[in-house]
């Protein structure tokens, strides 16, 4: 063993070192190729973070999983001890260690926005924590831009936690006043909005885009991006209809919230602004209506099992579908192209079955999403008379709350007459439960105003049939400051003039 001289040992070691390095070169190249092929690597998965990188280095890679687990347990303990700020710090630290650990972003983002915010009593504090949660999720999006789930969570928190909370009227006001422009920026059109519904619409749209992109990547790549916790994507799966309606819902909510006092200190808005927003809402619904879903069942046509595309918007033109009953040519071409099945021709009986199936699914899904209602509602509300009627209701309610009953009765009467002419053109909207309650309540207030003003009830009172139902359900609108707080600070309210 000891026969080698020191010099020759040194040469031997040097050679060994060089040899190992030489071996590393092809390995490194292979790794690089693999990374590119599988769309891996820091730079492609997300933003490169120096602190995160240093921490990972300090934890020598593998041990950071253990550290992250321990930190997570500590975070939970801090939550039990109501140490909210320390919880946030701890959670931030975990994300530094494992920025591609999707669960921590999803879970803790939700935890901060929902569970922590609810522990604080002052709405301003609640807002701060919701914002913390949203910003946390947005940071997650920056680190994992390919995950549709995180984008959707961000959108949902903007939409639901701010817009549907018990204190929504105050939270939305705080959002309206927020100085942080980045927080109020729509990620799609990069404009700053003063309404959480409007911003959430952008995020929802982005989630839809990401989901499409994700499924493309998933099919094109051998394996999808390898996250630390390769959860199956929750959102944007092929049959997830509700997921795709969210941009439209957000825009509709925005338009509806404009026409009432949905923020404590911001008066309602009508006129051109309201009309155009309802117009945008209609466009969103039509866009949803154009999306091509795949039917969940398959029919046996020409010995092959085939699915077919379903477009919910077709329900607005049912004749387009019924015409297909006899169009065997159309079906043959569609099926051969749709899934690459070898189908040259389709019999008449088969075309009929296919058409019926298409009709059934289109109808079912349209009902499921209340598609006709939303389209008609947008169209009714965007009519000049519709907007005018809403404005009259709002002003009437203000007068009513201020005990100016003759004025209230006059405004209501004018509004209801207008509203009736509009709704007669949109029967689906008119007969929908939501509208029956909403309009019914207005009629009730009209009746009350008449009684208080000492007037007779008119014979032909519009929508008189809706009163009985509305009387049974006297709940107030929690998202209308006029309902919740009464006529506050109306002096500076231009809408009441």
């Amino acid at each position: 063993m000891n026969t080698l001289s020191i010099r020759s040992k040194q040469i031997l070691y040097a050679l060994l070192i060089v040899g190992i390095f030489a071996l590393m070169i092809p390995y490194g190249q292979w790794l690089q190729r693999e990374k590119q092929a599988k769309d891996l690597g820091e730079a492609t998965i997300g933003q490169v973070d120096a602190g995160s990188f240093m921490l990972k280095l300090a934890m020598i890679g593998g041990a950071r999983g253990v550290v992250a687990n321990a930190l997570w347990m500590q975070a939970q303990d801090l939550q039990r001890r109501q140490e909210w700020d320390l919880l946030k710090t701890k959670v931030d630290f975990i994300t530094k260690l494992q920025p591609h650990f999707l669960s921590i972003w999803t879970f803790q983002g939700w935890n901060l926005a929902y569970n922590v915010s609810v522990e604080w009593d002052d709405p301003a504090d609640k807002y701060t924590w919701i914002k913390n949660g949203i910003n946390f999720l947005r940071e997650g999006v920056e680190n994992n831009p390919r995950s549709p789930d995180l984008v959707w969570d961000t959108a949902w928190t903007y939409y639901h936690k701010i817009g549907f909370a018990d204190e929504a009227i105050i939270l939305r006001q705080l959002f309206h006043e927020d100085q942080d422009e980045e927080f109020r920026t729509d990620p799609i059109d990069n404009r700053v909005y003063d309404d959480n519904f409007k911003v959430s619409r952008g995020w929802f749209e982005m989630a839809v885009d990401r989901a499409d992109e994700f499924s493309r990547v998933a099919t094109e790549l051998e394996a999808p991006v390898e996250y630390v916790d390769p959860v199956e994507n929750r959102k944007g799966r092929p049959g997830d209809l509700a997921f795709r309606t969210m941009p439209a819902h957000a825009q509709t909510r925005y338009a509806a919230a404009l026409e009432k006092r949905s923020k404590v200190n911001v008066p309602a808005q009508f006129g051109e602004k309201a009309r155009s927003e309802w117009g945008l809402a209609e466009q969103e619904w039509l866009k949803f209506g154009e999306y091509e879903f795949r039917s969940p069942n398959a029919l046996r046509i020409q010995g092959e099992l085939v699915a077919q595309p379903i477009v919910i918007g077709d329900i607005l033109r049912p004749e387009v579908i019924t015409n297909l009953k006899t169009d065997t040519q159309y079906w043959a071409q569609l099926l051969s192209e749709y899934e690459g099945k070898d189908i040259r021709e389709v019999t008449l009986e088969e075309a009929e079955r296919l058409t019926e199936n298409k009709m059934a699914w289109t109808n079912r899904w349209a009902d499921q999403n209340n598609f006709r209602y939303w389209i008609e509602r947008c169209r009714a509300e965007m009519e000049p008379d519709g907007v005018r009627a809403r404005q009259l209701f709002y002003e009437g309610y203000l007068a009513y709350l201020n005990a100016d009953f003759p004025k209230a009765a006059d405004l209501y009467q004018e509004g209801l007459d207008l509203w009736k002419t509009v709704l007669d053109r949109y029967p689906t909207y008119r007969d929908d439960d939501l509208n029956r309650k909403d309009t019914g309540q207005t009629v009730l207030r009209y009746r009350e105003a008449l009684l208080q003003a000492g007037r007779e009830l008119p014979e032909d009172m519009p929508f008189a049939d809706m009163m009985a139902e509305a009387e049974l359900d006297p709940t107030l609108d929690p998202f209308d400051a006029l309902d919740m707080l009464g006529p506050i600070g109306e002096a500076d309210d231009s809408g009441s003039e």
Partner: protein
């Protein structure tokens, strides 16, 4: 060691329950044990039954009766003392209690060390045996056999408890336990033989005396144990870890076999402690001799040697400094600054991180530096040049520690200075920035925004001070007006705060005072059993009433008046000669009182004069100056800070806060009695000047001061009351808080409301916080040097790191182990649970593996739980949270921590001394 632990585990196996509640030195008797002891023939249930009606009358909640209180009726006074001194875990809540516990533990450790050392020495010097069995002496073979059979016995006991093996009893005691005791007997015999032969061979007279003393101690302990009245056994048994349903007494009051085991256990525990005292005496004498020979010059020389070595040879201190600076330069990479709305967290985040960083770096440095040098000296034989100089061994140890602590001190100062600069730049800068933002927001008319920012700034500044909080003792009144120890539990996972219901009679009441009974004794003054010790939570009147102000003067008048009232009380039944002296004294005091009153009136006149002048002055700055002068004559309002939580059962009007009312009640007022449960309302103190002023006391304008405020959850609500409320209070005061909003609840804990006695300097406080780190480093240095005296450096390093990790991270787990609160069993059972994914609560099936694991736990847990005696509680010395939260570190806390650190560092260094001494002798 093995014999000791074997005994403990056998005791545990016999007791058949959780491991003996052996080890927590501070464990006070837990109330549940006494309450759950249900032996039919004892006086406990009777006493408790007696307690019930009283409790019901006093307000429903059953007061806890301390088992010690009941025990006291069974034992003679000398027996109580004997138990206190002899039982290693018994302690008393007075100042010398911890010291006694410390002496006991150090004694036991000394006993272990002494026996261990002599066994080693004796075995080394043994002559060849005449009779052997398979190459071993008969006694050694017997010991080996006894150990194996002993372990087997544990296994059998476990199997029997899991009902996998039939129970075999001989005379009422499990056979396996008897065999186990036999094995112990063999162990004891072996130990005796080895010790006697070894010590007699060496002819060391001191140690012979120790050995004799130990046997005497054993006899004394047996005597005391036998004298214990059998009626006391159930409580003593509960302390030993016997399950509550174990019958230690027959219905006739005779001891059952389990009772006999309990008596033996008490005897053994006591014997071990007393033997420990004998060894402690011997060690103390030896150490005192050595200490008296220490010369500062030589200590300094040794210390300087370590200092130079640290800086020149290892250069670790420089590395620590460099790493610290490097990390500081890049903190923004790791630390997420809090959201713009949570600025108050900035200070906590940075202070906490900097302290943690300093602490980690220093402890790593100490853990690496201290155990390396001594083994290296020994290895390279440089130690010989040191020990051949006229320098004592203790000087080598302490000198080294001194040197290392010099390095640590220099580094603490350096790191502290850098940290403070960093904090000043970051937080100070942020405060400036916030001020600017507030001004901008105000200009832009964004009042909401400005208000939010101001709240943040206020919280940030609060955190960046050193408040001296003065807390009171909290009791509750429920919604029906009945006194309660606790409020309502709203179902939070940890019941940190208890709640009072809004718009009812429910209230929380904080009582301050130099001598106030424990809350239980206040609410249930007539309950049976011993009283809890009195609490001392006085309002620091001297700090809050400024010298020379109107209120201070009024308080002085009361001081005189109290003195006079006391003298007048003494007049009753006094001797005639005494009477005249008292009379003279009283009239002197009266004169003094009159003088002070005149002075007081003059001051008040001057005050109202100034106020009038200020009102008359047309010039605004002039008026402000006059008003300022007037205010200087009054003590500032007394600041109160509160952090409450809100629990809503209804949504309420959106955006509307929950309102609370607060009332400060002077002790002269009858509205806040000391005993809320009693029907007659008498004031805490009798006004000595009541006769003079009648109902209209100008010194104390109001006896009750109340106000309402809206609760901002999790924020520090600030409020203040007039300083005149403290005049004549002698430190007594009551503060009551009620929730005003109907259907809402207000949550509070005792620490949630406090008076701010002073706002100290953050800088000084930060340095005091660093002193905590310094103390940690000192303990670790002692451990490092100790480990270095007998281990090679890699092992010594690991041992030091182990001690640090065990003390800093695993101390709570050790505590659970030692107090028998480990849910899901010891380490081996837990391992099975982890692997088989079973939860902590389910009973595991009694498979062979589970029985084996439980048996191993039964052997390992008692040994591991002994660790709690030697592993330093590092986190207790860490005061960084106080600094980060903006609370002043009080000198008393720091002093207690210094004692705590010394109580670990000194025994370790002494142990190191003995090891080094014997090692060189042996080499």
């Amino acid at each position: 060691m093995s014999a000791l632990s074997l005994f403990l585990l056998l005791a545990w196996a016999q007791a058949g329950g959780e491991p003996a509640a052996a080890a927590d030195p501070a464990a006070s008797p837990s109330p549940s044990q006494g309450a759950s002891a249900e032996s039919p023939d004892t006086s406990a249930p009777a006493a408790e039954a007696g307690a019930n009606p009283v409790a019901a009358a006093a307000g429903g909640a059953l007061p806890v009766v301390q088992p010690t209180a009941l025990l006291a009726e069974e034992l003679a006074n000398w027996q109580k003392w004997a138990l206190l001194i002899g039982d290693p875990i018994r302690t008393v809540p007075v100042w010398w209690g911890p010291i006694l516990s410390w002496v006991k533990i150090v004694s036991l450790a000394g006993l272990l060390g002494w026996v261990g050392a002599w066994v080693m020495a004796s075995l080394r010097g043994r002559r060849r045996a005449r009779v052997t069995i398979g190459g071993a002496r008969p006694l050694d073979a017997a010991l080996l056999l006894a150990i194996l059979i002993g372990i087997g016995c544990v296994f059998v006991r476990q199997a029997q408890q899991s009902e996998q093996l039939p129970q075999v009893d001989v005379a009422g005691v499990a056979l396996a336990s008897l065999v186990g005791m036999l094995c112990l007997g063999v162990g004891a015999a072996w130990l005796e033989t080895v010790l006697w032969s070894g010590i007699l061979r060496e002819r060391r007279i001191g140690d012979v005396l120790v050995l004799v003393g130990m046997h005497l101690a054993l006899l004394v302990a047996v005597g005391i144990a036998l004298s214990m009245p059998s009626g006391a056994m159930p409580y003593l048994g509960a302390r030993l870890g016997f399950p509550p349903d174990a019958t230690l007494l027959t219905p006739e009051g005779e001891l059952t076999p389990s009772g006999v085991v309990a008596i033996v256990l008490i005897g053994v525990q006591m014997a071990l402690t007393l033997m420990g005292f004998v060894v402690f005496l011997r060690i103390a004498l030896l150490v005192l001799g050595e200490v008296s020979a220490i010369r500062p010059r030589r200590l300094y020389a040794m210390g300087k040697f370590s200092w130079v070595e640290s800086f020149r040879k290892t250069r670790i201190p420089w590395a620590v400094l460099a790493i610290f600076l490097l990390i500081l330069a890049f903190t923004h990479w790791f630390l997420q600054p809090p959201d713009s709305q949570r600025q108050a967290e900035l200070s906590r985040l940075y202070v906490g991180t900097l302290m943690l960083l300093s602490s980690v770096l220093l402890t790593v440095m100490v853990a690496v530096l201290t155990p390396i040098t001594l083994p290296n000296d020994i290895r390279f034989q440089t130690i010989f040049t040191v020990v051949t100089k006229p320098v004592r061994r203790l000087e080598i140890i302490w000198g080294r520690m001194l040197g290392f602590m010099g390095v640590v001190t220099a580094l603490v100062l350096a790191l502290g200075g850098i940290s403070l600069l960093y904090l000043e730049r970051n937080i100070g800068g942020r405060i400036e920035q916030l001020r600017q933002e507030i001004a901008e927001a105000r200009e832009a008319g964004l009042d909401n925004q400005a208000g939010l920012l101001e709240a943040q700034l206020d919280q940030l500044q609060t955190r960046r001070s050193a408040r001296l909080p003065v807390g009171g003792s909290l009791t509750f009144v429920d919604s029906l007006g009945e006194p309660r120890i606790k409020g309502i539990d709203v179902g939070q996972e940890l019941e940190i705060r208890s709640f009072v219901e809004g718009a009812t009679q429910a209230e929380a009441s904080w009582l301050f005072g130099p001598m106030i009974p424990h809350p239980v004794d206040r609410l249930f003054p007539n309950r049976p059993g011993e009283r809890y010790p009195m609490l001392s939570m006085p309002v620091p009147v001297g700090l809050l009433l400024h010298e020379g102000t109107i209120e201070d003067l009024a308080n002085d008048i009361y001081t005189v008046a109290y003195e006079r009232a006391e003298l007048e009380a003494r007049k009753q039944g006094a001797e005639p000669s005494e009477l005249s002296r008292l009379n003279a004294e009283v009239s002197r005091l009266e004169e003094q009182e009159q003088g002070l009153l005149r002075e007081y009136e003059a001051l008040v006149a001057r005050y109202s004069d100034l106020v009038q002048q200020a009102e008359a002055a047309g010039d605004a700055p002039e008026a402000a100056r006059l008003r300022e002068q007037a205010e200087a004559l009054r003590s500032p309002d007394v600041p109160v800070q509160m952090t409450f939580t809100v629990y809503r059962t209804t949504k309420g009007r959106p955006g509307e806060p929950v309102y609370a009312s607060i009332r400060v009640v002077h002790p002269f007022s009858a509205e806040a009695p000391m005993y809320p449960g009693s029907r007659e309302n008498s004031p805490l103190l009798i006004d000595p000047l009541a006769r003079r002023f009648g109902g209209n006391n100008p010194l104390i304008p109001e006896l009750v001061h109340s106000d309402t405020f809206d609760v901002k959850e999790y924020y520090t609500n600030k409020w203040a009351f007039p300083a005149s409320m403290l005049v004549g209070s002698q430190g007594y005061l009551t503060i009551q808080v009620q929730c005003l909003s109907p259907t809402q609840y207000l949550g509070m804990a005792e620490g949630d409301l406090f008076l701010v006695a002073s706002q100290g300097s953050f800088l000084a406080n930060y340095m005091k916080g660093l002193a905590g780190i310094w103390l940690q480093a000192m303990v670790l240095t002692a451990i490092g040097v100790w480990a270095g005296t007998f281990l090679s450096w890699p092992v010594a390093l690991l041992i030091t790191v182990f001690f640090f990790a065990a003390g800093e991270i695993f101390f709570p787990i050790l505590n659970q182990l030692a107090t028998g609160q480990m849910i899901g069993g010891g380490p081996f059972e837990s391992m099975i649970r982890m692997v088989s994914h079973s939860n902590q609560m389910t009973e595991l099936d009694a498979t062979l593996g589970v029985i084996l694991a439980k048996s191993l736990d039964a052997i390992v847990v008692p040994i591991m739980s002994l660790l709690i005696f030697v592993v330093p509680n590092f986190s207790a010395m860490d005061l960084s949270n106080l600094v980060a939260d903006g609370f002043a570190i009080q000198w008393a806390t720091l002093g207690a921590n210094i004692l705590l650190a010394l109580s670990y560092a000194v025994p370790f260094s002494i142990a190191a001394y003995f090891i080094l001494k014997n090692r060189e002798v042996a080499a």
